[in-house]
């Protein structure tokens, strides 16, 4: 069993990390073409991310789409999660399902739907189409985080505010909303990261005129490799690993992932 434990863990770790290592090596290869063992060390491909206009504009487009798309997602999710959890509404399960549905289905469904919709509206190929499509598709994530926060909120807090004479609007603004902010931020971050990585919706909605980073990378793979693709990948990997390491050190990553709160005390004992 002990042997199985270390082989399973070891092999899985190699499986997860191996492609990342290879890509890191390719990204610092001096030669324009991939070769192994690498020829010389060079960081010019990282520099090219900023100096090359095509890459820079793809990065900026992606950041625009992700930041505004995640904003749309939170703007849709917050009132929906609040009203469905705070009030007794007959269609509540149905409306919640409507918020979950886009994300449950394969993304190509939302992608094709948005494509025919904007074609019908004669407004194809604009960046705002991508922002809205991402906002709808990823609104499920803040909807889930905010709904969970509503469920775990102490009902005595808004009740106390009302007993003290606050009207519903003041209660919401001064009590409920501040308590929901952490879950809104988590939902925003999740939607932001996934929107940054999303390809098929961005491609079908406006892929020929709005070039996001994943579209640029995919075109790069298809029509001509440059080590810059590898350096983008490395930048993404480093950002992700840093964010989650910080989360593990300063936040409660294990709790966030749903672990039993006492798990580590027991394992360390």
């Amino acid at each position: 069993m002990r042997a199985l434990k270390w082989t399973t863990t070891g092999l899985t770790l190699v499986f997860l990390v191996a492609p990342l290592l290879v890509i890191a090596i390719v990204s610092v290869n001096e030669n324009r073409y991939m070769d192994f063992p690498p020829q010389g060390l060079s960081f010019e491909w990282y520099w090219a991310l900023w100096t090359d206009l095509g890459w820079r504009s793809a990065i900026l487009t992606s950041l625009t789409v992700a930041s505004l798309g995640a904003l749309v997602a939170v703007a849709i999710a917050t009132p929906l999660a609040y009203v469905l959890r705070a009030y007794r509404i007959r269609l509540s399960p149905l409306l919640y399902a409507l918020g979950i549905l886009p994300f449950m289905l394969p993304p190509v469904i939302s992608a094709l739907g948005a494509q025919v919709f904007w074609n019908a509206a004669d407004h194809a190929g604009r960046i705002e189409n991508v922002i809205i499509a991402h906002g709808i598709f990823f609104s499920t994530l803040p909807l889930i985080t905010i709904s969970l926060a509503m469920e775990t909120m102490d009902p005595a807090l808004p009740e106390a505010a009302q007993t003290l004479g606050a009207n519903p609007r003041t209660t919401f603004r001064t009590i409920t909303l501040p308590l929901l902010v952490p879950s809104m931020i988590t939902g925003y971050a999740a939607a932001f990261v996934l929107s940054l990585n999303e390809y098929i919706i961005a491609f079908l909605v406006a892929g020929f005129s709005v070039q996001t980073l994943p579209i640029k990378i995919f075109n790069g793979i298809r029509y001509g490799f440059t080590p810059t693709i590898a350096s983008v990948a490395v930048v993404f990997i480093v950002i992700a690993a840093t964010v989650f390491s910080l989360f593990a050190v300063f936040g409660n990553l294990l709790r966030f992932l749903g672990a039993d709160p006492a798990i580590l005390e027991r394992n360390d004992a």
């Binding site: 290879v22 993304p107 190509v108 094709l112 009902p155 593990a248």
Partner: protein, 284 residues
């Protein structure tokens, strides 16, 4: 708090998100359903009509082959992922703080990678220019570098890579809460760790194994870039086929018919997951 009566103001607040979802999700979906009946004009356009041509194409051999391949490789990816992720997650939940957190950070980092980057890294790793075979040649194990992509195994590996972290995260909460006394009791009674794993841990976890398997299935069924990058056209999943028809072949009606087929298929699987989950919740 959930028993407050809604007022007119409540409905006004609710109207905003619901309108957004209806206008930008349900209406597009409706237009897509309608356009599956439209007439396709050669050259990339379509005109409103009512014909069943696109639907009839769903029964041609090419499409059935695509659908069967897509479903088959997703089932296989689900099986492989569970077979590896279940013991991995089980061992992970029994580790001390440092390796425990470190492995979770690796899993979460892999999770946050874009599909396009995963596809690209595997295409390099399995390629002829700077991949595994080059390392083997360099070490003297192999004579000549080989390319393992595009190919079926490459697509399967890529699909497992993108689905594996989600699979681990589905299994993690329940495995971390698995009562230690249960496994300890089995071992006190004389069962070996191996036997305990097979006769106690796996049977207890059956519902979550099913849920994880179906999650991987739906997730990989909708994947696009992995099979587009790592596969030949015969390895394309339905998603690639749909978007290919919608963009390069400019046959939106046929793409729409296939998309509706994929929707029904995914909803059926999600329905099964929901039933399984509610049944296990009743049992516990």
């Amino acid at each position: 708090m959930s028993d407050r009566k809604p007022t007119h103001g409540t409905y006004a607040v609710l109207a905003v998100p619901v309108t957004m979802l209806v206008v930008f999700f349900l209406v597009p979906f409706g237009i897509m359903v309608a356009s599956s009946f439209y007439h396709r004009v050669e050259g990339g356009f379509y005109t409103p009509a009512f014909e069943l041509n696109s639907w009839r194409r769903l029964f041609t051999e090419v499409f059935i082959e695509r659908a069967v391949f897509s479903i088959g490789i997703s089932l296989l990816a689900g099986a492989v992922c569970i077979a590896v992720a279940f013991p991995f997650t089980f061992f992970l939940t029994r580790m001390k703080r440092r390796p425990h957190v470190a492995l979770l950070v690796v899993v979460m980092s892999a999770l946050s990678l874009s599909e396009v980057i995963v596809g690209f890294t595997w295409s390099v790793l399995l390629g002829r220019a700077a991949g595994i075979s080059n390392i083997l040649v360099w070490l003297g194990v192999m004579d000549e570098a080989r390319a393992y992509q595009p190919g079926f195994v490459a697509v399967l590996l890529g699909l497992c890579y993108i689905a594996f972290p989600y699979c681990v995260l589905t299994l993690y909460p329940s495995l971390s809460r698995l009562d230690r006394e249960v496994t300890e009791a089995a071992q006190t009674m004389g069962a070996s760790p191996w036997r305990t794993f097979w006769t106690v841990v796996v049977p207890i976890s059956r519902p979550i194994i099913v849920a994880g398997f179906l999650l991987v299935f739906v997730f990989t069924l909708g994947s696009y870039l992995i099979s587009a990058i790592l596969g030949r056209p015969e390895h394309w999943t339905l998603s690639v086929f749909i978007s290919d028809q919608a963009s390069f072949n400019a046959n939106v009606p046929f793409a729409a018919a296939m998309a509706i087929f994929l929707t029904v298929l995914s909803l059926a699987v999600v329905g099964v997951v929901t039933v399984v989950e509610s049944r296990t919740r009743r049992l516990t």
